[in-house]
């Protein structure tokens, strides 16, 4: 339980670049430590993205719940937001004034963040080529969210329905 808290504390500190980057870090930490299999984690991510709220928080809550029940869910959720909350309280308006050196830091963070998102893409890419249907869904999702402003939720729900229908009618 303490290790769960420490791992999520660490994830929170490096949680730059928004939800999907964080999901990638969570995956590396949890699957890398064999606390959960890659298949289990995939199911969990699917659940996290169809639940309201930030996807990274949902994933953290679910991992904690799966590993240690209700208490685990509370521990992982609070641990993952501890560093962001503390830093937000400390930084506040003063950071906005320090934008001179901030610009350089922002660029450095972008470099690291693209690295993190590359790791996430790499981790989830095998799932995209596991079947013809998955290739089609992944390509559609990419095209829609890269080139249109349509809410990705519709793609997520649509693919879920397609997946359910495929399973129901083709077995």
């Amino acid at each position: 339980m303490l290790r769960l808290a420490l791992v999520f504390l660490k994830i929170g500190v490096a949680a730059y670049g928004g939800g999907w980057t964080i999901v990638g870090i969570i995956r590396t930490e949890i699957v890398g430590r064999a606390w959960m299999s890659a298949e289990e984690f995939v199911k969990l991510v699917a659940m996290a993205q169809i639940t309201p709220g930030p996807v990274a928080l949902n994933a953290a809550t679910l991992v904690g719940y799966r590993l240690h029940g209700l208490l685990g869910a509370a521990v992982s959720t609070l641990a993952v937001v501890a560093a962001p909350v503390a830093l937000s309280l400390l930084i506040g308006g003063f950071f906005a004034k320090a934008t001179k050196s901030g610009a350089r830091l922002t660029e450095a963070l972008k470099t690291g963040t693209i690295g993190l998102i590359a790791m996430t893409v790499w981790a989830f890419a095998p799932a995209a080529v596991s079947s013809g249907l998955n290739v089609a869904i992944a390509l559609t999702a990419f095209a829609v969210s890269a080139f249109t402003r349509i809410n990705p939720l519709w793609i997520i729900l649509g693919s879920g329905v397609i997946g359910a229908a495929t399973r129901a009618f083709l077995g």
Binding site: K43, Q49, S145
Partner: protein, 186 residues
């Protein structure tokens, strides 16, 4: 001119809590969906003008953590100080926490049904495409220099290979490229 502007009515803890609770409870799809929703709702209430919101958003991005949560906490504090900060934190956090526990319990009961399995498989199949699009947009929107290109490729390779060392590797990459940026600017 020394006329004081009309005092802006500061919303209280519970109205801010309710505001973010509502947004968090109905918005599915993570930070990039939630942030625009928060912005429009704040402007509509007259709590925060658009340009100020984007300043806050930029600051929120410089802090680690879920984007929607950080943005909400900064906005809450701007609107109503520390109580606003706490109200935003709880408002964003509680609905997904409750929803996810309900869903986990529900899936414990029906998770083995083929249709449910199929739905989850389909919903997950989107993730590689979504994350690739995110990477694509970050790469497209950045102002590139040869230095940044080299650093970014090196960073991607190093972090991907690092396994459970990804987090320390990330900070090493940030430190090295912050240093390199300074040298480049001189």
């Amino acid at each position: 001119m020394n006329d004081t502007s009309p005092p802006v009515k500061r919303p209280g803890f519970f109205s801010i809590f309710g505001f973010f609770f509502g947004i968090s409870a109905i918005t599915i799809g993570g930070g990039y969906v939630m942030v625009p929703v928060i912005q429009r709702a704040l402007e509509k209430r007259g709590w925060l003008p658009e340009d100020e919101f984007y300043d806050l958003f930029a600051t929120a991005q410089s802090v680690p953590g879920p984007l929607a949560l950080n943005t909400a906490m900064f906005a809450g504090r701007r609107v109503a100080g520390l109580p606003g900060f706490l109200a935003a934190f709880l408002g964003i956090l509680l609905p997904p926490f409750a929803a996810i526990l309900l869903l986990a319990a529900l899936l414990g009961a029906i998770g083995d049904w083929p249709v449910v399995q199929g739905f989850l498989d389909g919903a997950f199949a989107v993730v590689p495409g979504l994350t690739a699009a995110l990477a694509f947009n970050m790469i497209r929107k950045r102002r590139w220099t040869p230095l940044r290109a080299v650093m970014t490729v090196a960073s991607a390779v190093a972090i991907t290979l690092a396994g459970t060392w990804a987090v320390p590797t990330f900070f090493a990459v940030v430190a090295v490229s912050a240093f390199a940026e300074r040298k480049g600017a001189c």
